[in-house]
């Protein structure tokens, strides 16, 4: 066998020739050692680095237990895993130089001293206390060659060396000597004459136009053999190649940012206290495999039924263990869904008895993973990337099994172990396709024989990284068998090979893709070398165009310039369709009615036509969550005061402790994220707000003699609208926050708002446009037709203020809102809009308002607000009603024509 050996040849093509070869191979250091291991009967199963670190960590722990003063002790106490990993790196690097700890005598520099101390207590080997590194393998090969296997036929006739043996670091010169002694001919390849290839450098300003240029270059006819040297990711370039019917290069890196590599970390996060419900929701929602076909839903880690119901529960109550959560479990059981139920129970167990953050005992952690292993195996169907996640979990269990089962791990150490257990996976885009050109990713591996090289994305990443020993360390290493080169000499090994590779080309065409993710990679040192020889002139994309042709480095393609396309801005603020009585609603909530009035088209889009965003597993958070929480606190406090004889709650004002206790009890169920670390200050603030404001709610109502009779009272009453095409009865549905009665039996509806604005609701009230209040009062009247008309008002949870005409509630001395008149205006407006829609006219309310005020859609906020205020006033004066639209900030803004790119 003939071996072409180069220091940088690992991963290179075995030969440059096409057709077939046998008995020839190009190998780098890793490949050659592997071959010799096979030849010498020194093969062994692979060992995960995580396992080696765990071994070293336990060795360190034992050594530290001996009580001796030890240099790494302080760092080990802070971070055992990384300290072990760091020491192990140094240890492997020292072994790589050929240093033998056993031969090192006397005082040593700190790093080597620590390594020696540990080395004395360990045995290297598959079954030893430390699994071997690549350097140990090499040392073992040399030892065998120099001893028992001297004269052993290796089946290697010749090794053609790209580097002088003496230029190689560590044990390599020695290995080569041993091979020669074993009868292998070692020949140093003749130095090729350093040529200077012709050079073209295109500096693109973005990766897509860079990719166009590179793809065009490959698509155009050109002379001679060509090679693509892909120094950077080619995903974008590959798309440009496919667009032109050309094969992809497929240099796309592995990553752990893929859904199925997220499983383990997320699972353990959820299994550890305090449980973060958002993480829990993410785990429930996690999809790990594509569906069986394009239109099917992707497969989740948690079975679909369990996922949907538990997520539904969290969406209602963002906490664990509350009524919604328990009901979800019960419903799975009631429906006899066995597998989902089992999974749901497992999740429930996981979060109701989470691992304490400060008691992560390896055995306990490992045990929790059993279900995950089982579930992954079931979902993976024996193939695909999920098996990588499974392997990761199993390696983790292996590592955990090596640690002291009773010594708790820090949260961080566990995370480090998880990270070290791998889990990054190849991209489905990392596929090199058959092409006319050859492909390599490293300049040193460019084929002999010149030709044209298209160099994609050279950058500072081509700089070599080397391990650095200090003077004193070098002396110590050499004293015990080490062979250390200067850092610059080691770096030169790679740079010289890279430059030699590049100089084998006749012509190098460089495409610099510009910023990636808005960061421009640092300049390439290798390119600087080429430019120093060939000149620094760089090409701009523009300079490649002339007379309807695009050309680069002698290759050319005809190009055309497409006509400019500019989308048109919508002109008329109204849509005309065929009469559409089938779009009329059968049910309306207050929200729908309000949308209908604000912008009929928006209502049509969202409700009548069903154009809606997908439901995403996003739990309520922020103001919405706090609003719900405080509503529930009110509800609970009212229930606690409910006296059936009174037909409502007593007028007793809850004391701060009672409000606090209720708040504290409800947070884990309704706003459990407030209990997470880092949220204490916020939680304290909300609680303080709640106490002050709810005391005000109860004090105020008591002062006004109002007895609360119900909270969250649901209603569904028929509402008959006198439409042009005949009366139509729809169901008006919703719920009222707070119902109350005064001593005379007169009812009051209160709506609770957790809102920043302090003036908005007062304004709605004063203008009689608080149609929410009007409609709630109307529903009360419908439910109890004989009763006197109800009062209505707001309570602002944030500021603890009422908006009401009752001076006992609100000191602003407001005039009472004419609830009946408001309702009349609302009903008439709704009737009008529905008549129009039935007849085929859908007004775009938001556009109409702007057009009437002569404003563009991108007019500044204050101008639009002013226009709204004016229009409201005008409508009011005409006896009508204008409801402010929120189309511009809604999800339908684009379809309403309020946002758009008409450049």
């Amino acid at each position: 066998m003939l071996i072409d050996f180069g220091w940088t040849a690992d991963g290179a093509a075995w030969t440059d020739a096409r057709g077939g070869t046998q008995g020839r191979v190009r190998l780098g250091p890793r490949g050659l050692v592997q071959l010799l291991q096979t030849r010498l009967g020194l093969t062994r199963p692979g060992v995960e680095q995580a396992v080696r670190i765990a071994q070293y960590m336990e060795l360190l722990r034992t050594h530290l237990g001996s009580g001796e003063e030890f240099w790494p002790a302080r760092s080990f106490a802070v971070d055992p895993w990384s300290t072990a990993a760091q020491l192990l790196r140094w240890r492997d690097a020292a072994v790589e130089t050929g240093w033998r700890a056993a031969e090192a005598e006397g005082e040593l520099p700190a790093r080597l001293d620590s390594v020696r101390a540990l080395e004395r207590s360990l045995s290297v080997g598959v079954t030893g206390s430390l699994a071997p590194s690549a350097a140990d393998d090499l040392a073992e090969v040399i030892a065998l060659l120099e001893d028992e296997a001297a004269g052993w036929p290796l089946g290697i006739e010749e090794i053609l060396l790209q580097e002088e043996p003496a230029a190689l670091p560590g044990m390599w010169p020695r290995l080569l000597r041993a091979l020669e002694a074993a009868g292998v001919r070692c020949v140093h390849a003749a130095q090729e004459l350093p040529g200077a290839p012709s050079l073209h450098v295109l500096e693109a300003l973005d990766e897509w136009s860079a990719a166009d240029a590179a793809a065009r270059f490959l698509a155009a006819d050109g002379e001679g053999p060509e090679t693509v040297l892909a120094s950077a990711d080619t995903d974008v370039l590959d798309r440009a190649l496919h667009r032109r019917g050309l094969p992809a290069i497929g240099r796309v890196g592995p990553s752990r940012d893929r859904a199925h590599h997220q499983v383990l970390g997320l699972f353990l996060d959820v299994a550890t206290a305090p449980v973060d419900v958002h993480q829990l929701a993410a785990l429930l929602d996690l999809r790990v495999l594509p569906g069986v076909d394009g239109d099917a839903e992707p497969v989740g880690l948690v079975p679909a039924a369990a996922r949907r119901r538990l997520l539904g529960a969290l969406g209602r109550e963002p906490g664990v263990g509350g009524p919604a959560w328990r009901q979800a479990l019960a419903s799975l059981e009631a429906d006899g869904l066995e597998k989902p139920l089992a999974a749901a129970r497992e999740i429930d167990r996981l979060v109701s008895a989470p691992l304490a953050g400060d008691a992560l005992r390896p055995r306990e952690v490992s045990r929790r993973l059993d279900w995950l292993v089982q579930r992954l195996r079931a979902v993976a169907r024996g193939e695909g990337e999920l098996l990588a996640s499974l392997a990761q979990v199993q390696v983790l269990q292996q590592v955990l099994g090596m640690l002291d089962p009773e010594v708790p791990l820090a949260r961080r150490t566990l995370q480090q172990i998880i990270d070290a257990c791998g889990g990054s996976g190849p991209s489905p885009r990392a596929v090199r396709e058959v092409s006319d050109w050859s492909v390599t990713t490293r300049p040193a591996q460019l084929p002999a024989g010149g030709g044209t090289v298209l160099w994609w994305g050279p950058s500072a990443d081509d700089a070599p990284r080397t391990m650095r020993w200090d003077r004193a360390e070098i002396t110590a290493l050499q004293a015990a068998g080490g062979h250390v080169l200067e850092a610059a000499e080691v770096a030169a090994l790679q740079i010289d090979a890279d430059l030699a590779g590049l100089r084998r080309a006749d012509s190098v065409v460089v495409v610099l893709p510009g910023p990636r993710c808005e960061e421009t990679p640092g300049p390439s040192g290798l390119l600087a070398h080429l430019e120093a020889a060939a000149g620094r002139e760089r090409l701009s994309p523009e300079s490649l165009l002339a007379d309807g042709a695009w050309s680069l480095a002698g290759r050319s393609l005809p190009v055309t310039v497409p006509a400019v396309q500019r989308p048109e801005q919508p002109q008329e603020p109204v849509r005309h369709i065929r009469p559409a009585p089938h779009l009329l609603p059968t049910r309306l909530s207050f929200t729908q009615a309000s949308s209908l009035l604000a912008c009929p088209q928006h209502w049509a889009l969202e409700y009548a036509l069903g154009i809606r965003p997908a439901e995403v597993a996003v739990l309520p958070t922020g103001p919405r969550m706090i609003g719900t929480l405080l509503h529930a606190v009110v509800e609970t406090l009212v229930q606690q005061r409910f006296d059936p004889e009174l037909g409502g709650a007593t007028l007793e004002v809850p004391d701060p402790q009672e409000i606090e206790a209720t708040f504290d009890a409800l947070v884990p169920q309704l706003a459990s994220e407030l209990d997470l670390p880092g949220r204490r200050a916020e939680r304290a603030e909300v609680r303080e707000h709640a106490v002050r404001s709810l005391r005000e709610l109860f004090t105020g109502t008591a002062r006004a003699g109002l007895r609360i009779t119900g909270t969250e009272s649901r209603f569904a009453v028929p509402w008959t609208l006198p439409l042009a095409g005949g009366a139509r009865t729809v169901e008006f549905r919703g719920s009222r926050d707070v119902d109350a009665v005064d001593a005379n039996g007169r009812a009051t509806v209160l709506d609770l708002k957790w809102s920043r604005s302090r003036t908005r609701y007062g304004d709605l009230y004063d203008t009689g446009e608080a149609i929410q209040l009007a409609s709630y009062a109307w529903t009360l009247a419908q439910e109890d037709p004989g009763a006197p008309p109800a009062d209505a008002g707001y309570f602002l949870l944030r500021s603890g203020e009422f908006v009401s005409a009752d001076p006992a509630l609100d000191p602003h001395r407001r005039d009472p809102m004419d609830v009946a008149e408001s309702w009349r205006r609302m009903e008439s407006a709704v009737t009008g809009v529905l008549d129009e829609i039935a007849a085929g006219t859908v007004r775009v309310g938001c556009q109409e308002l702007l057009a009437a005020a002569g404003l563009d859609v991108d007019a500044p906020w204050d101008k639009r607000t002013r226009a709204t205020t004016k229009a409201r006033q005008a409508a009011r004066e005409a006896g009508g009603l204008l409801i402010e639209n929120h189309c511009a900030r809604s999800e339908h803004a684009q379809l309403c024509g309020l946002t758009g790119d008409w450049r």
Binding site: T38, P247, A259, R287, P290, L609, P613, P677
Partner: protein, 1093 residues
Amino acid sequence: MSPTFTLINASAGSGKTHTLTHEIAERIAEGLDPSELIATTFTTKAAAELRDRVRRTLLERGQLEAARGIDSALISTVNSVSGDLLREFALDAGISPEVQVLDQDRQKIAFRAAIDETAALAGARASDLLARTEHDGEEDPDRPYATTPSWRAHVRDLAARARTNLVDAPALRDGADAAWQEYQQAALPAAAGEDRRPAWLAQLDLALEGLRAEVHSSEAGDGPFTEKGAGTVRTRLESLAALRRQVADPARAPWSAWAKLAAVAAGKAADPAATGYVYSKDVDLALLGVAGMVQAELLTSPVLHQDIRSLIELVMGTAADSLDAYRTFKDELGLIDFVDQEVRTLDLVRSSSRAREVIASRFHLLAVDEFQDTSPVQLALFLELSRLIDDKIWVGDPKQAIYGFRDADPALMLGIMAQIEAGSSGLGTASVRDLEHSWRSQEPVLDLVNAVFPQVFPELPRHRVVMDAAPAAVAQRAEAGHVAGRLEAWLPEVPKKLTYPQHATAVADGILTLLDQPRTSPADIAVLVRSNRRAAEVVEALGARGVPASGEGVPILASREGRLVRAALAVTLDLSDTLALTELVDLLPDHAAHGTWFGDLAQAPDREGRSAVFARWWQDPTLAGLRDLREDCISLTPVEMVTALVDALDLPERIRAWSTPDQRLRTLDALRKVAAQYADRARADSSPITLTGLRIELDAVEQGPDLTGAPDTVWVGTIHGAKGLEWPQVVVMLDHDPTERDQTAGSFVVPAPQLDVAAPLADRSPRYWPGVLARYAPLQEALAQSAHARRRTGAEQEESGRLQYVAFTRSADVTVLSGDGSAPVLDGLVPAESEEAEPLLAWSAGGEAIRVRGGGSLPAVVRSPRGELAERADGYRARRSPLAATDLSGPAPVRAERARARFQASGVDSADDLGEVLPPRTIGRRLVPGGGPQWERVGEAVHAYLALPLAHLSAAQQENAAARLVQRWAVSRAVDPGVLREAGDAWARFLAEEFPDAEELTEQPITWWNEEDQVMEGWVDTLLRMPDGQIVLVDHKSYPGDDPVEHVREKYLGQMTTYSRALAAAGRAPERILMHLPLRGEVIEIELAAHVR
């Protein structure tokens, strides 16, 4: 070698980097090894550039060897150098060697999390105090202006400042008392004995009562007010009622409410010369009594005194606690922030003797670029390193130190420089070089600089401020026929007083004039402004005239391409997203339903009908790419997904036909960045990274792409952003009335009375002054006169001078000053001796020069661009971008499966028609019955054993090898070494009988390109070569099962066919193919079908 210290003062454009790289190259030529160089600068971009420049300089000078080794030099940002040193000496410092560095955003979050508990407790206790002093605002409000200050934000600021100045927790606690004493002395009269607020309240009630009665009577026609007047008073009474409610509860009544009342006593009602009334004339008159009382007593209130003091103690005490809490928090999580990096490195370099020795032995040149931008800690670190490293070159320009807001401390730095220069630093003989030639700017530009800045920097020697054009540069320009340089002064034409939006419009108008000049493109021009807000105005004004501007582009979600990607992502992930689907239809003009979608959908009779319409839309050919993507998107990363969506929508081709394709392509990259940042953040928060998460993230994106460097755009940005950059023509948009903020509140550090190079940060002490009653003039005016406020104001002034220097030195050919005929900001820096004196710089319409105070004048083109746009004003006609040209036509091709370039023989499918599997021949004992435990590993061990040149090994060697393999593969429980030897012996016997003269070649490499040009590289287990050259292919398979023939047929026919054909291509096809099943003790022969041989 004795230590040396070279200090290079490099004025703007004087070839700083050139000088530095040549100095470095010179040192290397003199024998410095590249690995002995440590060079720092301030941004990663600058560091990459510096490395590149050093390499190119070495190459130009023919120092090839050094150029190859330059990667071993440590050329990096300060933080990166610190990070490297810390990692290297982590065990010496007793810290984790693998810390995660927090970026600025995460640092903020981590700090908040760390002090959460401390702050929650302290805040809860101090709730009423914070209400009275109005420091209970949100920490990160949505709208930062006009909100209540947050005491926690102040804690954060103070703690950050303490950390960059090496102020520790005890010093913070100690500082509280001093801060209070100084505050009190500066602005508060002695405290009165009692709390007078009840009296104020009573007096206020009386006044309100009186007013109400008067309104009442007036409305009845019998009072002091007219009908209209009564109406006014009535509305004012409402806001007074609100104020009354505010002060009702003394525990929480804000001091500002009282101050508002007190202001009445300073208004027109009390003093006819004052500017106006606080409420209205009648109301103010009625309130005068109570207002006077409050005004006289407010600042003596013992409660107010106590509140200010308590607030100082709360903030400084909590900041002190927070330093400890934050440190513990980070240590537990293995986190570190930028400041820690520097502080800990400094600590390390000071305390670890190993680190000191290694650094001193390893590095021999310390180059510091942009030294003027160092923070106090960085400066201390550089000084410490300078003690260890014998050769130092520090390059920079104190005139360009403009990072005071980031805690750089120019005063400290200048003090140190002075000592180094004087040779009194103990860091070696200092040699100072001043670079006085400008390689950047032409004479007229320099004339302006030279006329203005010696006055702005009176303390600097003149030769360090003025510059002349480098003769070589002048000659070069002359030779290239470069346009002559000039000054311009713009005086916007507006009807009334110039506003900023008008100014922006005028700048855009002026730029159109510049673009009319020959050989001028937008990329030649920059507009420098004071703030991001001004920049936004100018960008908008340029946009209105069709001039593309750089900076931040159109927000991602406001761009067609951004919306398309967003909608495509949503619908690809979830087909039920009918909104996203409809948006796609609406955005894609070639979609069949584009333009008719509303009507189509409205026509559908019911829900099922609408579902059918949606389904039809999804099947449209324009969405074919997305349909393909839907099938395999689940395993893509967020960044890959964005790339895939861009491709599926064929955006790169579509964009060519749209306006500004260059900018739109940047949007695509910005989208990738959103995806990358999302992934980074999720990873840091240990949240899962999912495409659904990406979707949510994308929905919330507000920013636009970074258009820096986009072709044919005018650069618009702040002076800070322009640092280090240059353009042919620069428009400096001058502030109209540069207001100085009063430096009466906030956190700050009091400098040491005496500066010590050996301990530059010693004796500095922290302070916090709260912004209580921030709008109450009597208090604020007194505070503004304090030594602290005056010193801070002075520092701000100096910074402003340096900022102007940076602005005026950015242009090569043309500097344009745009403003209202003068530069008020310069007048603030160089006050005139008399009030009537001319401004420092002045110009007027129709003039031909910029007049300089004191008589001089500089020739200039004076223009009056229009500050208000006429209807249909002319715009700039941007030429079509070169990126619009395409080599393609027609829609994207349909996705096709393509052959992979590489394949493995073992992956080639088996098929029955590939050949015949003959019945097995027994050659030995069955070694492993059935599967057996660990049979796969046993197989590996046997396989490895058979790969050895057994025939040439002695029995002892064989035995050792077998034992080794059993041990290494950890299969001793399943087999003993004898089993391996038995397999070897059986195989040897078989060979001896069957192929007596064959040469056995084990583990042979073969490569093969198949008909589809796919390449296979692999190892053949064994080749037997006959004396006549014929070969036999052998493969060992560790199959322990019971149906070997079927197994081979099912699994290996493809592999063997491939090997056989590969061998044929390499010269000779195998005559026979054997499968050796050592675990079963059998050999099976395969006869390949003729068509595959």
